[in-house]
C-alpha cells in the first residue's frame, strides 16, 4: 500500500468500516510511514472534537407539540394520559364488554397452554413501551427528581393507593434519578426512573393480582427491551433501549431482596 491509497482508506479505517484484511494492510502501512501516522493523528483530533455531545442542538420544547398538531388526530388516550386523569366516557362501556369477552376467550386458552398470559403480556409490553417513549418526549419524565430513595418513596404516599418498593442501584451502574405517576392499561402506576450511562430505564410498578414471585419474561419490540416479573405482591415492568443483557442485570438487582 502506498500513501495515496492509505489516505483514501484512512477514514474508513478509523471508523472500523474496512474489512479485516484491508484494515491489517492499512495498519501495516501506518506502522512504517510517519507521514501517514501524522495524518491519522490529525483525523483522530477532529473525530474527538466532534464527539462532544454539546455540539448537537437541544430540541426546542415546543417542537413535540407542533409535530402532534400536524399529525392527523386519532389517539384520544394520549392526551387523556398526559393530562394525568383517566376520564370515564361512553366508549368505556363497550370497551369493558370487549375486555370481558377477551378475558373469557383468554381463559379458554389459558387451560390449553398459557397463551392468554403471553398475548396479554404482548399488549401490556406495547403499552409499557408507549409510556416509556412518551415519558422521554413529553418533558414529563420526572414528577419527583431525586437520587434519594428515601425522598422518592414517600412522594408516592397519598398519590397512589400502594407504596412501591424503591431502591437505588447506583453502585451497580443503575442510578435512580426520580419517579412519577403514570397510566398503564387504564390504571395508575408508579414509575421509577433509572439511568444507565446515557440511557433511561422506566420501571413501572403496580399491585399484582397474585402474591407469587415469577421469573422474568422478556419482550423486544422496535428496539426496546421489556422485562416483566412479579415479586412480593407487585407487578414490575422494566423498559429501556439498553441491551437485553443490561436490562436483565437491572431486573436481577431488583429481584434480590433488600
Amino acid at each position: 500500500m502506498n500513501c495515496q491509497e492509505c489516505h483514501e482508506y484512512i477514514d474508513a479505517y478509523i471508523d472500523s468500516e474496512l474489512d479485516v484484511a484491508a484494515a491489517i494492510i492499512v495498519k501495516q502501512h501506518l506502522r512504517d510511514c510517519a507521514k501517514c501516522q501524522q495524518l491519522l493523528e490529525s483525523r483522530k483530533v477532529v473525530v474527538a472534537l466532534l464527539k462532544n455531545p454539546e455540539i448537537s442542538f437541544e430540541v426546542p420544547d415546543a417542537l413535540f407539540g407542533k409535530i402532534q398538531s400536524v399529525l392527523p388526530a386519532v389517539r384520544s388516550d394520549v392526551k387523556r394520559r398526559r393530562g394525568g386523569r383517566f376520564v370515564f366516557s361512553w366508549f368505556a362501556v363497550p370497551l369493558a364488554l370487549a375486555a370481558t369477552v377477551a378475558v373469557m376467550l383468554g381463559l379458554a386458552f389459558l387451560n390449553q397452554g398459557g397463551m392468554f398470559d403471553r398475548s396479554r403480556g404482548n399488549a401490556l409490553a406495547q403499552d409499557v413501551i408507549s409510556s416509556h417513549v412518551r415519558s422521554l418526549l413529553a418533558t414529563h419524565l420526572l414528577d419527583v427528581p431525586s437520587t434519594d430513595q428515601h425522598t422518592v418513596k414517600p412522594w408516592f404516599d397519598g398519590k397512589i393507593k400502594f407504596s412501591p418498593p424503591v431502591r437505588d442501584f447506583a453502585d451497580q451502574g443503575f442510578r435512580l434519578i426520580g419517579g412519577r405517576l403514570d397510566y398503564i392499561n387504564g390504571r395508575e402506576v408508579a414509575a421509577l426512573v433509572y439511568q444507565r450511562r446515557l440511557h433511561i430505564i422506566n420501571l413501572f410498578i403496580w399491585p399484582s393480582e397474585s402474591s407469587s414471585t415469577t421469573a422474568a419474561e422478556s419482550f423486544a419490540k422496535d428496539g426496546y427491551n421489556v422485562l416483566h416479573w412479579n415479586r412480593d405482591g407487585f407487578e414490575f415492568w422494566a423498559v429501556s433501549d439498553v441491551s437485553a443483557g443490561d436490562l436483565m442485570a437491572f431486573a436481577d438487582l431488583e429481584m434480590q431482596q433488600s
Binding site: 507521514k35 501524522q38 473525530v47 462532544n52 407542533k66 409535530i67 392527523p72 389517539r75 406495547q126 408507549s130
Partner: protein, 177 residues
C-alpha cells in the same frame, strides 16, 4: 392494522428520532426556525408514506432520508448555490493539503468553534459529518440517507474532516482557541 394501531406504531418508531431529525435539519438549514418547519413537514410526510415503510427496514435511515430530502427541497428553492460543492473542492487531492501540524485543543472552549467550522462546510460535506460524527450512522446508512454511493460517502467524509482540521488548526494558530 387500524388507524389507532398505525398511529401508535408510528409514534413508537418515529418520535424517539425527533432529536436526530431536528439536528440534521438544524445543520442543513442553519437556523432554528427553518429546522422546526422541516421537522414538522418531515413527520407529516413520513406519516403519509408510512405505508411504504416495511417491517425490518432501518427506520432511522428511512426517516432521516425523508428529513434530508425535505430540507434539500427547501434549500433548492431558497439557495441553490449553497448546496453545490465547488468543483475544485471535489477534485482536490487530499495528499496535496498535507502535511498537517499536530494541534491539541481544549475541549470546553471549542464547542462554538467546532459548530462554526461545521457550518462553514459545503452542505454535502456538512451532511456526512453530521450523520457520521454527531449521529453515529454507518457508511451504509449514510449512503441510504443521502442517496450517494459508499465510495462518495467515504471521500466526502475524508475531505470534510480534512477541512475541519484546517479551519480549526488555523484558528488555533491565530490564538483564537
Amino acid at each position: 392494522m387500524n388507524d389507532e394501531q398505525t398511529r401508535t406504531r408510528f409514534e413508537t418508531l418515529l418520535l424517539p428520532l425527533m432529536s436526530d431529525a431536528y439536528n440534521l435539519a438544524r445543520w442543513l438549514m442553519k437556523n432554528q426556525e427553518d429546522a422546526e418547519d422541516m421537522v414538522q413537514e418531515s413527520y407529516l410526510r413520513a406519516f403519509r408514506f408510512f405505508g411504504s415503510f416495511h417491517e425490518g427496514t432501518n427506520c432511522r435511515a428511512w426517516f432521516l432520508r425523508v428529513v434530508r430530502n425535505t430540507c434539500y427541497t427547501a434549500l433548492g428553492s431558497r439557495d441553490v448555490k449553497d448546496k453545490e460543492v465547488p468543483l475544485d473542492s471535489e477534485a482536490d487531492e487530499i495528499e496535496d493539503s498535507a502535511p498537517l501540524p499536530p494541534v491539541s485543543f481544549a475541549k470546553k472552549a471549542t464547542v462554538e468553534a467546532v459548530r462554526e467550522a461545521i457550518a462553514a462546510l459545503p452542505v454535502d460535506f456538512r451532511e456526512v459529518v453530521v450523520l457520521r460524527e454527531l449521529q453515529g450512522l454507518s457508511y451504509k446508512e449514510i449512503s441510504d440517507v443521502s442517496g450517494v454511493p459508499l465510495g462518495t460517502v467515504m471521500s466526502r467524509l475524508a475531505r470534510a474532516r480534512h477541512q475541519l482540521y484546517l479551519i480549526l488548526s488555523d484558528r488555533k494558530q491565530r490564538e483564537e482557541l
